[in-house]
Symmetry: D2
Subunit: 278 residues, 4 copies
């Protein structure tokens, strides 16, 4: 399927500031950038780089005093891999690829050490495999209220676990935390999400199972095979759509994601879905 995604972001800059954006769709695997256009107003030179490690695309701007606005629009073809959940197994620590190991470590918002006992009590006896991560998502969806205004940028998964409320980023952090506590590498994914209402940047997570990273969304607010990935990292600290060094006032933001053929998904897939490699 082909998706038309994009965003408009702006800032009123008090005095010269450096801004790093991560809003462009990732390239590679089963996600193909058919076309894209980035407009910066005023027309400032931008330093564009793609991280070799993560594939995240960064745009770094040094912005003078005044208003700066970005518009990104792209057509993205997603050829998501669908697999039957039942055939996807967990990988023993002994044979996990080396580059997945950092995603077992606790991070700023995913203190998996603190929730390890609970994770093992609650999910330790479930048969390992894709289905266990689905159970984690079921638990989060059932036990945590999706509520704006209950969390902020300092909220960790341990906080969310106690508070029992949060937004998409908190749901993702909690899912990642439980996975890591069980020995399953897990990482944070920011994305454009088809059918998400209201439209905004979305946050989900990936767990490493079988031979690749599979997508999970504990909020159940969008279809897994309609997510255009922007950034991956250990948690939200690594995947901010904008990181700001300086004093700026954010202007209203607009985000969109539409299927080109306009099809509404009748039902969202319950397949295992991955777009990270061929």
């Amino acid at each position: 399927m082909i998706f038309s995604v994009g965003c408009e972001i702006g800032y009123d800059v008090a005095q010269q500031a450096t801004l790093i954006f991560n809003i462009e769709a990732m390239r590679g695997g089963r996600q193909r950038v058919v076309s894209e256009r980035l407009t910066i107003t005023p027309n400032l030179p931008a330093d564009e780089k793609t991280s070799e490690e993560s594939g995240n695309r960064y745009l770094r701007l040094t912005v003078p005093q005044g208003v700066v606005q970005l518009r990104y629009e792209a057509q993205i073809e997603l050829d998501a891999l669908h697999r039957a959940p039942a055939v996807i197994h967990e990988v023993p620590i002994a044979t996990l690829p080396l580059d997945t190991l950092p995603f077992l470590n606790p991070s700023r918002y995913c203190p998996s050490d603190q929730l390890a006992r609970f994770a093992n009590r609650q999910f330790g006896n479930i048969e390992p495999g894709f289905g266990r991560v689905v159970e984690i998502c079921n638990w989060i969806n059932s036990e945590v209220d999706y509520l704006f205004g209950t969390s902020d940028t300092t909220t960790t998964a341990a906080d969310t676990f106690s508070l029992r409320a949060g937004v998409c980023r908190d749901f993702a952090h909690l899912g990642i935390t439980f996975c890591r506590a069980l020995g399953i590498p897990a990482r944070f994914v920011s994305c454009y999400a088809w059918q998400l209402k209201p439209q905004d940047f979305h946050a989900v997570f990936e767990a490493y199972l079988g031979d690749r990273w599979y997508l999970f969304d504990a909020t159940r607010m969008a279809a897994l095979d309609g997510m255009v990935r922007i950034g991956v990292g250990r948690d939200a600290a690594d995947t901010a759509f904008a990181t700001i060094y300086g004093q700026v006032m954010p202007l209203p933001i607009r985000v969109w994601s539409e299927a080109i053929n306009g099809d509404k998904a009748e039902e969202w897939t319950t397949d295992a879905v991955s777009v990270t490699r061929d």
Copy 2:
């Protein structure tokens, strides 16, 4: 029943220090001090006072450099009130006695504000009354591991909730926290506990239900009608058996509690038990 309880506590004091002890059995209600003896070695003058508010008995000593040792031994008659759980109701906030209201507030180790959503999700639909607090104890007993070395003097009930491990004080803090979140006044109780193994100071809690404070022990490690109450307060911060101002090294401690008639309880009571008033 009559219990013989006591303790031996000592400190090696580096230089003059002030120590406040709360180790003597409370007087009044259905707990009668038949006899007691306190020995301080060396024979230092002690400032003894009973708090009007709580009934806690404090012993304040100013101790010179050297070793100080206390031995407290007492015979205590407990005429615990037993009631059928089914007849004990929760009291609406609108009619709670004024002096129970502070025990609805969050305290150092019982941040009931932080766990309010969970408490209401988990226990909010249970029929109010004594049985609801029993359910709280059941939940704690089932979901939290009793393990030494997992908590310390800074551990709050929110920490214990995440960690899922703790000792008697942590179990009490969690029970208190859930009660307060549900609008049930609850307070911390330190005590000598018959049949507790190994013998040590014990920590339980009281909830205000019907017309009085009833005892609860989420650890289920001792009989409710064999607890000789020492101190009550908002949480462990109010009921330390020793509070030390100065530099001291603690010596080994010994605590005991025996039934005079030597009867072993065949089974622990499941009645509602209260000793706070006639």
Copy 3:
């Protein structure tokens, strides 16, 4: 001096709720209620009680669905005791009155155990006495930014210490925390504050020095001898102007405090000020 103080508070109540207010001026000591009037609309029966322990005046209402509004207005005569700071000493733990000891314990928002090492490093070598608490206020005033929006109802003094920003309640919590860590009993005070801009309920603290409780305000936003005390307690958890059991929407609030003679204080006093007893 005589002050005209008061407030208007209202709630839109979704369904029957119980509300406990603590908005009336305390009586006794050097604070005299010359006249006062409380209006509840609609005219609901109120349960009014004064805590023997604290002197706080509580007003408990059970409110049906709909809008409830309270208006409290009072004329208060303050005959604040002024003393020279230099003559006021700290009281050794060994001779502190028993009823001040709970105010040495850590509480929900004042975890004095966690900041004890810092407090002793920073303030331990300052000469004990009134001046040491002034130094604590100076430090807070200098090192913490007064900023709305940086703290919320879960913020502790340890959080404020790290964040270095907060509002009056956070300033008071930090002052209390440092005092307790140094062995000085300290408690939270809510009040009407003359010359506070903008007018609102104010939060300050009292430390027990010499033979009584003295007022301190680390925000330096109002005159110490123009504070009409409403509630005292261990921290903000004990002195909320409204505690709500049920679902309500707060309406805009109005608070005022004026000197009857309209005198502007030319300079705020630097005396030690106490109003707690004759």
Copy 4:
């Protein structure tokens, strides 16, 4: 200089477990492994890999029930770069290499977001450059007590900031946190440390300044040019010398680091020291 470093580590394994070690000296830059020998008893197959991203060397073992022991010994030549502190500048965010940016993000133990206001108040007006990071180390060394038993594996830099006590890992976390809050990339380094007393694995940090990573040790317990680097990462979560999946009991550990020529450093260098590249 050439150093003879090594360690002996052992575990009593309750049932088959997977262990990942990071104890071998890094290769490359100005650190050359002259010779090394790793002995595993019993002689188990080991999966050895070096992370492309960090250069950390990992050793993964699947261990049956019983005792497993590792002995690593190596001769390492360090040709540390020495530079005059005064000529080393901070790099504006606008021109930092892309792969240093993740080291500006908050991590599990380095919540730089939480201490940002303090860092900017305390260090924001110091002239940027190598000297500013030295000032950060001076502050930590002066304001935090080096004390065993005050921190554990859950302690963050925000905790250490409040507690004012910790060990080498806590000192490093605090230094990293302040650097990141100021816009200076900083990362955690585990190492063998010549002249450290008592000998153990040591933890220091690196800040990216000028054109490379420079070493800093806020504990001041070892010479910067005698540190044989083992692992680098965002914080201690990335650089554990042993990560254990399974139930094991650690045996006593031994660590050593000696200069081959036996020279005692008369004075430790105050130069800027880097070993990361030629």
